[in-house]
């Protein structure tokens, strides 16, 4: 009965999961991915060595500016390498299957095209999750390493202050440094960054459903990435024109996912905002996957 119902619905979560895990395993073994993630981790780990680029006159200001630089640098690196992993990873999913002819073997089995597509996407999303988690962990270590050094200095100053005023000021400085290091809003920034990458991977997969060239997929996805970041500026300039508004609505506004700068500068990011952006991303993601499904189902192989 259950099998019959599944056949009627035409969807099997276990088949999708099997394809997703397989996609993840294949992607992780690829040299391109390994090189990208290695570079990303090395770059993030070395952020504290570049923190001298930060500004500041003395004491606490130097500490806060250097911590800000580390956050800028690491979140930027996570964004750049995340985008590369998302696009390169998703762009080759279908072309590789076609080139290796493994797609024919898979689709010859009782696997629906939608399940195949969804499995491939989930594999790609899992790969991004693993990558972002690894880069975030390295970011956390780099930030803690640098922050703890400054915290130790500030606490020592608080302990050896000459008068009550300087002790209190040093304690306040230590508190400000601690708040800069252990900022819970960084998690929100990373969460939204992941959402953006997942959406970008879905868009790349959509492009690869009607194209056979991986280079074309990567180029188009990169263009959509840049357009997505310029939508906000374009809306400001041409938002009054009906035609422009119609066209601008089609492109996803990827800039709404970027809250890293605001987190670094100390803005509180409300969960309501995160939820709204996540909902926007989820709706767009479902639509892009549905569009990919329509094209992939009709595609001749």
């Amino acid at each position: 009965m259950t099998e019959a119902r599944q056949e009627w619905v035409g969807f099997s979560a276990s088949r999708v999961w099997a394809i997703a895990v397989n996609t993840l395993t294949e992607s992780v073994r690829q040299k391109v991915y390994l090189i990208l993630i290695l570079f990303a981790l090395v770059l993030i780990a070395s952020a504290s060595f570049f923190s001298q680029f930060g500004f500041g006159d003395a004491g606490e200001q130097v500490a806060l500016e250097q911590l800000k630089f580390i956050k800028d640098f690491c979140l930027g690196a996570i964004s750049v390498f995340g985008v590369l992993i998302a696009i390169v990873g998703a762009a080759q999913l279908i072309p590789n299957e076609l080139e290796n002819r493994s797609i024919y073997t898979i689709l010859a089995k009782p696997v629906r095209r939608f399940e195949f597509l969804l499995g491939k996407y989930l594999g790609s999303a899992l790969l991004l999750l693993v990558s972002v988690a690894m880069m975030s962990a390295m970011f956390g270590v780099a930030l803690k390493f640098k922050g703890d050094n400054y915290l130790r200095v500030a606490r020592e100053a608080a302990m050896h202050g000459e008068d009550r005023g300087s002790i209190e000021e040093a304690a306040r400085q230590a508190e400000r440094i601690r708040a800069a290091v252990y900022d819970p809003d960084l998690v929100k920034a990373l969460l939204l960054a992941y959402m953006k990458l997942a959406l970008l991977a879905a868009i790349t997969l959509l492009v690869s459903t009607f194209s056979t060239s991986m280079v074309f997929n990567v180029a188009v996805a990169l263009m959509i990435f840049f357009v997505g970041h310029l939508v906000g500026a374009a809306k400001e300039r041409w938002g009054e024109s009906g035609v422009a508004r119609f066209l601008l609505v089609l492109a996803p506004d990827l800039s709404v996912f970027n809250v890293a700068d605001d987190v670094i500068l100390g803005h509180a990011i409300p969960w309501v905002y995160v939820a709204k952006v996540a909902l926007y991303g989820a709706v767009y993601l479902v639509a892009v996957l549905a569009a990919a499904h329509f094209i992939f189902t009709e595609r001749e192989m």
Partner: protein, 260 residues
């Protein structure tokens, strides 16, 4: 063809369906003062393609820092306008970085201003002073834009007050800005003292006296303040204003006996 049409239709429906949500998100971003990058012609001219891509890719803070360092190079080679442009772009990229506004205004009012005044190509000293004042005004405008972007931080109000005091020789405007800065809980104790002193220098002795008194009546154990200075200033004003004994905080000091 049917597949492509279906795909387009789905994307259109999703795009139009999320329009109210997008409007809400944009509204919330504006309310929360989230600073997206607004691409301008000036930004494009200063940054070039490489840095522009860096900004779009997520390295906004790093690019801003890099532009700031380039600006410092311009200062060393006395390219004031290039430095000015770079300071503008750095603050556009990171409008809420107080340090950029603070140091930028300091460069304009102190370093560039002085260099313009003492430039050997000036025909007269008056010409040098005129050129210097242009940069003072630029620094003032720069700080005011900084305050617009960071209204809830004490630093830039204080710096604007310092600029009014040091470069515009206007203690009244300076006192006003120090007063605004002193409202913030994290402002150092000296900011409140500078506010009171500024009022006295402005000639508003009664307000200055009230200001010092309000400082003096704070809890001396809870508030970290240089009470010796506060006491000295109150004594000075009480003497200067000839405050009646009944209203004084500190009793008159007995006058020294006349030497025989």
């Amino acid at each position: 063809m049917r597949a492509i049409l279906s795909a387009l239709l789905v994307l259109l429906v999703a795009a139009w369906g999320t329009l109210p949500l997008q409007t809400r998100i944009e509204g919330q971003r504006l309310r929360l003062k989230f600073g997206g990058v607004h691409v301008t012609r000036q930004m494009r001219d200063v940054m070039g393609q490489g840095m522009m891509i860096g900004v779009l890719a997520g390295f906004r803070g790093v690019v801003a820092d890099f532009i700031w360092i380039l600006g410092h190079g311009d200062w060393e080679s006395r390219q004031w306008f290039q430095q000015y442009n770079k300071m503008q772009v750095a603050t556009m990229l990171q409008p809420e970085s107080v340090l950029f506004w603070d140091v930028g205004a300091w460069h304009m009012a102190w370093n560039i201003g002085y260099a313009e005044r003492t430039d050997t190509s000036n025909y007269t000293l008056a010409q040098g002073i005129k050129r210097e004042r242009v940069w003072h005004e630029r620094a003032r405008q720069f700080l005011m834009r900084g305050i617009q972007n960071n209204p809830s931080r004490y630093n830039l109000y204080f710096k604007l007050g310092w600029l009014y005091e040091q470069k515009f020789n206007d203690p009244c405007l300076a006192a006003e800005q120090y007063g605004l800065a002193a409202r913030f809980a994290d402002a150092p104790a000296y900011v409140a003292r500078m506010h009171c002193r500024g009022l006295a220098e402005c000639g508003k002795l009664a307000e200055a006296y009230q200001c010092w008194k309000s400082l003096w009546f704070q809890d001396h154990k809870a508030v970290h303040q240089n009470w010796t200075i506060v006491e000295r200033e109150i004594r000075l004003l009480e003497k200067k204003m000839d405050i009646p004994d009944s209203q004084r905080i500190f009793a008159r000091q007995p006058s020294k006996p006349e030497p025989h």
